[in-house]
Point group: none
Chain length 218, copies 4
DNA sequence: GATGAATGAGCCTTCATTCAT
DNA sequence: GATGAATGAAGGCTCATTCAT
């Protein structure tokens, strides 16, 4: 029973922590980094003022955990996408793109927060690290997938590393469009832009509509 | 004589304003947006605390003018690059790339500031507008130049709009690398990355070294 | 127990608020409106600087609450005086005068503060309202009491409304004397001035010493 | 010619000083004491920022001169009224009342300024002095005039000193009404209130309409 | 004599953090 | 474990005053 109570307490504790991180994301998205105060965050999470320091020691630590969670969510999303995808590089590339534009990670709110952290990254080493590894992990998988795609066709002249980097950059550029000009942003058109880029580079495997079915060949 | 006096005063006034904007850029680059205070800025500019409000009314207005100047500097840079370039689209594309990696606009400091503003853009409408137009103006010229390049060769299957966007995104991604990982960044290699992207898309006109001389054709 | 705790906290809270208002009155009385800063007020109240904003949101709101309390204290004073007085108009008029010169409300400090607010009344609508209602409430009761006195005697030719207003004005004038020339001010003499005014208007019921006993008549 | 130039300069100087005092009055009337800054004053007077200190040394000195001018204007007004009046006390009393409600001195603006200074009087000795003498000079003449009126009739039981003081207080109360409730204020009705007070005290010489013609008696 | 840029002290306010209850 | 009053440092801003031009 004591154990149960302890478990319940732990759950409660974690729930409060999660609530606070969610509230932090919401606040940064709405009011920006500069206007995000612990009072707003605690009010939004429905807890008392002093509780944030109790759970996270300092505001800075709360912010770092928030960034880390955001980063983890993102990585988890594309990892799962890869796991669920068929075992060929083209499908995997498609899965990565699908994942990156899934509302789960690609919402105006989350992207605004991501850019907010990026904006402070230069002057806060911890942010720098998280942002670097965020970029790094994704570009690595993107690169290797593009490499595998390149191996499928007649792409000797294609620089798959640069193609991968350009694809990553393109996705980022579309995210930024969602943040700055949400009205012109369109989730489906964004994917098409990515496919068109792939069609420019891997014309045998992609066109504007997405991957070109390769079964005819076999 | 009175006119001269007025001129001298005006010059002085403008010089002070410029100094303050420069100091603001330096401060944001070094300490970040959140840690940029008017005291630091005024100290850096070597003037008294109250002078900022005297000249710019409020901190926010100083920040906006700073962002605008940054935006203007950037646009002026690539406009001049275009003006100075030969009158063929390939040279112009090269000029745009050269301009974007020229230390004048592509310094770690300036890019950090640009990203700092971008980070607050979501929650401050004025920043949003300036950032939008910054993106917009550049992508427009990039697109039309790529279109002209596409017209030079056998590029029917190439989507030049997406190619242009990808190039812009690539440049931005390299800038971000300069900001987050200055040690791995290399100005020349960055241009080569861009050329490689162009080589992927316009293989008749670009290779990793840059533009392919076309005189053989004539 | 929780309730007790809450009560204790609430008491504490209210005590702090009261202390701050008292300190505000003291400060305005001593240094004047213009020189009353939150630092002085908080120091006088023995609390930290930021607590004022915590409890009153802004300096302006603290000032308004201070004025309101002053107004309430004053009204409470004469209301109690009326309650405690005998049930005849002459005794009531005497009670009102006694109340107005009671040190509880008629201290140099409080009058200085009252005049300080009056001085800013024109340019701050909230002050205007409080000052208006202060004046209004008192003049209403003064008027009706004078009316009742007038009905007691042979005062057909007497304008009791004007007599009441003149009495109120006289009291104010004596208050002002306390503020500007405290050395010539004398509490007892001030009441005599009021009685003399009443003697001028209601000679059958008042003389310089106060009310004339009317039992002979019965 | 040099003298003429000097004179012209002196005139100009005085004009500027007068403009600044006028602007000060306007500013205090509109924005209150607390919000009256030298910048507003100089802007209102149409001169440069630094000129106030040049002409008045300090803000405080400008304020004192403003108060003094207001006081002088007021005294000049009732002195002239007395000079122009017939040589009997009743006419003189009427003249004093007329003067006190003449727009020249009894405007909402000027009264607001007068009360603004009064509000700071307690904490600034110089203001105290000016306000004291303002009160004193007027109450002295009021008292002697009332004394002379009292001598005209059967007023043995009348305390003319208190009657005079009440009249002065009444005028002040009506002024305050103009400041706080300009909509209910009425210049003519105000005078009638004063006459009614006098009718209460000197029924043989005043009624609600004003002085009672005494020629029938002779 | 006049201007207005520049100074710097001081004010109100905000806010992360602490701690008694 | 949770609350919220209290702290105190720091920030943006105002403004009287100074002074070079």
């Amino acid at each position: 029973m004591a154990a149960k109570q302890a478990t319940s307490r732990l759950k409660r504790r974690d729930q409060t922590r999660r609530d606070l991180i969610t509230a932090t994301i919401d606040s940064i998205a709405k009011d920006g980094f500069a206007e995000t105060t612990l009072e707003k965050v605690s009010k939004r999470a429905g807890v008392s003022r002093g509780l944030v320091n109790f759970h996270f020691i300092s505001k800075e630590k709360l912010l770092i955990e928030t960034l880390e969670q955001l980063s983890e969510e993102y990585a988890a999303s594309w990892r799962k996408a890869l796991d669920d995808a068929d075992d060929d590089p083209v499908s995997q590339l498609v899965a990565l793109i699908e994942s990156d534009f899934h509302p789960r990670v690609c919402s105006r709110k989350k992207i605004a927060v991501w850019y907010a952290f990026l904006g402070e990254a230069r002057s806060r080493p911890t942010y720098t690290k998280v942002c670097q590894s965020w970029d790094k992990r994704f570009s690595t998988v993107m690169e290797s997938t593009c490499k595998n795609v390149a191996a499928l066709g007649d792409y000797d002249h294609v620089d798959h590393v640069v193609a991968a980097r350009a694809l990553g950059a393109l996705i980022d550029s579309l995210w930024r469009e969602l943040m700055l000009s949400p009205k012109t942003f369109d989730r489906e058109k964004s994917k098409i832009v990515c496919f068109r880029h792939l069609a420019n580079v891997f014309p045998q495997h992609f066109n504007a509509a997405g991957p070109i079915p390769q079964n005819a060949k076999e």
